[in-house]
Symmetry: C2
Subunit: 360 residues, 2 copies
């Protein structure tokens, strides 16, 4: 064991005492491991964020990426939904492009648009900026994770990162895209450049998650938001090997690895096989069917349509129960929406959903 | 046979001579009927439009909806890709919101945005504008279809309309939407208003297609672009009955009915069962798998990823052949992209794809 280990970076070998203790008691960690805890665990993607008035107040005068670089703000924002909803896990508050900015990519989050990249990647020379991410690049992340695990007590913390394909799409398109035309054009037309790009992004993503896990995160979720734009053949050929490298880097850390994207009904098996312990499922494919596609040997996470929060109480309750019933077909089930919380949601309804799941 | 039949409106009862003759010879119509013609038929969604320089030149000073109301322009635009690519079918050039504008909805197409509705639907009183569409509302459509079938010769003409759910989304959101939040909120929270709205839209859509079929269109395609935002349960409950009414209205016209949406892997069976002769499939689900989901008793249409046009020649050719091979698993297969032609496509590559399919 290295003497250089710092207070916020537990040793990599073996499980930290915190992690060992939680694994036996946390419904979230037990379900992720394929177990069936006494209650169905629940958290919500984007539970930390715009849906909460206390978040909007805190963020009022702070730009998105600045808030992600402020350990105190990250800690507070991550904790806000835990106080409100008492979910079974916290998700580290960050942004998908933060690690890109941390290595020197000129990217910002524009309100109402999303990430905007100043110099989109068009040619090999554009890769130079994508050096590996070092812990010093994101010291505030280690600090925030350290503060969080002290505050969270028995609630596990999920580390957060975007997957190589999704990061590549932002870098190539220069921002959000519906059709990912330039991304696929580069992927098809210059596979060598493509694989070099995704290889570098896999290193950056791994580095970003490594900082979180070494600081004490209890699980990781790899968000491949846009992977569902691909069919399985292209996903396996152009994307899966890179996501698999990221996931494999945490095989010996004792942290469950969740792998999620929207519109990925055709990729559920491949996303599990890439090395996930838990496959996140959007609301389109019923969880019992999703469990089959995943192969029956991994936990699933999901998958209530986030718009269900607008339904009358009886419809909402029946849909929550239906997700729980179908989730029971998988070796483990973590309740979630099938995508992020809609900003227009009523926080009271989210709290009610947590209760409904726990009463199931 | 009514003496009142005009030159551009063949009788409704039985098949028009044109239609009867084509059905035996057209690869497109034969495949749609579940037959296996001597060559795989091919056309492209959005083959008429921005991808062609001659279209951009023609449209340079004419707003979108104005061009759809000009029978000469509609005819010319519909014919442009037929001259270039020699596809096995023409698709009537129009816009999804045209019938809404025709009954009095204040809607326009804003460049770079899409349809923008001045007064989005929020309450019951907002339904009043949605009266049934009469042939006189779209006289230019009858005229254009009549001109087209004289010009097209042996090439069948596909009529075009948006499905009730997709139209509802535009009307409720006020424009294009990623999450369809307001649409689903209305659907869940006020099912009575929802079904009244979709019922009216089904009438308008039926009226719009009726004009095209009575004027001589040889097939119809119902575009439910956004239906893939729903899971099957919600689709069956809130949407399918209305789309089924539209499709049923053409059961006795001898025109194949194509039913298409993107992200609809979970809905393929339901979209076929709604009364389609052909189910359009996006590029996410392989066609042999799609044929199974459809139930094995209907033709399929699709499903090359439109971004494949950017691939090197060998990759493109292999992907085209793969689609043809998998399509052979269905009772009939019409080659197409899995979504509309990307405006950035090279028209020469589209022509090459037609050749590749015909050589298969």
């Amino acid at each position: 064991m290295s003497l250089g280990t710092t207070a916020v970076a537990p040793p990599r070998s073996g499980l930290s005492p915190r992690r060992r203790g939680l694994t036996a008691t946390s419904p979230f960690l037990r379900a992720a491991a394929g177990d069936r805890p006494e209650r169905v665990p629940v958290w919500f993607m984007r539970q930390a964020g715009r849906v909460l008035p206390e978040y909007r107040a805190l963020r009022a005068t702070t730009a998105m990426l600045d808030s992600c670089r402020n350990a105190e703000m990250v800690t507070e924002i991550t904790l806000q939904p835990v106080r409100r909803f008492r979910p079974d896990a916290a998700i580290f508050f960050s942004d998908i492009v933060l690690p890109l900015a941390a290595v020197g990519v000129d990217v910002d989050i524009v309100a109402g648009v999303g990430p905007v990249v100043a110099h989109p990647i068009r040619a090999r020379a554009d890769l130079d900026v994508l050096r590996p991410l070092q812990p010093d690049d994101v010291q505030y992340v280690s600090t925030a994770v350290g503060m969080l695990i002290r505050e969270l007590g028995e609630t596990p913390l999920i580390g957060f990162a975007g997957a190589p394909f999704t990061l590549a799409s932002y870098l190539i398109e220069g921002g959000p895209s519906r059709s990912h035309t330039r991304t696929k054009a580069l992927m098809y037309s210059d596979p060598e450049l493509w694989h070099d790009l995704l290889g570098r992004l896999a290193e950056i993503t791994t580095g970003f998650l490594r900082v979180q896990v070494d600081a004490g995160a209890d699980a990781v979720q790899l968000f491949d938001s846009w992977a569902g734009a691909l069919n399985e053949e292209d996903y396996l050929r152009y994307v899966a090997p890179h996501s698999a490298r990221v996931l494999a880097a945490f095989a010996d850390d004792g942290v469950p690895r969740i792998h999620f994207g929207v519109n990925t009904g055709q990729l559920l098996g491949a996303m599990g096989a890439a090395g996930a312990d838990v496959v996140g499922v959007d609301w389109r494919v019923p969880l019992d069917e999703a469990a089959l596609r995943v192969g029956g040997d991994r936990a699933v996470q999901g998958n209530l349509d986030p718009a269900t929060v607008f339904a009358p109480a009886d419809v909402l309750a029946e849909k929550v129960r239906d997700v729980c019933r179908r989730g029971a077909a998988a070796p483990g089930h973590i309740f979630n929406f099938g995508h992020g919380v809609l900003p227009e949601s009523d926080p009271g309804v989210l709290a009610h959903i947590v209760d409904l799941v726990h009463e199931f």
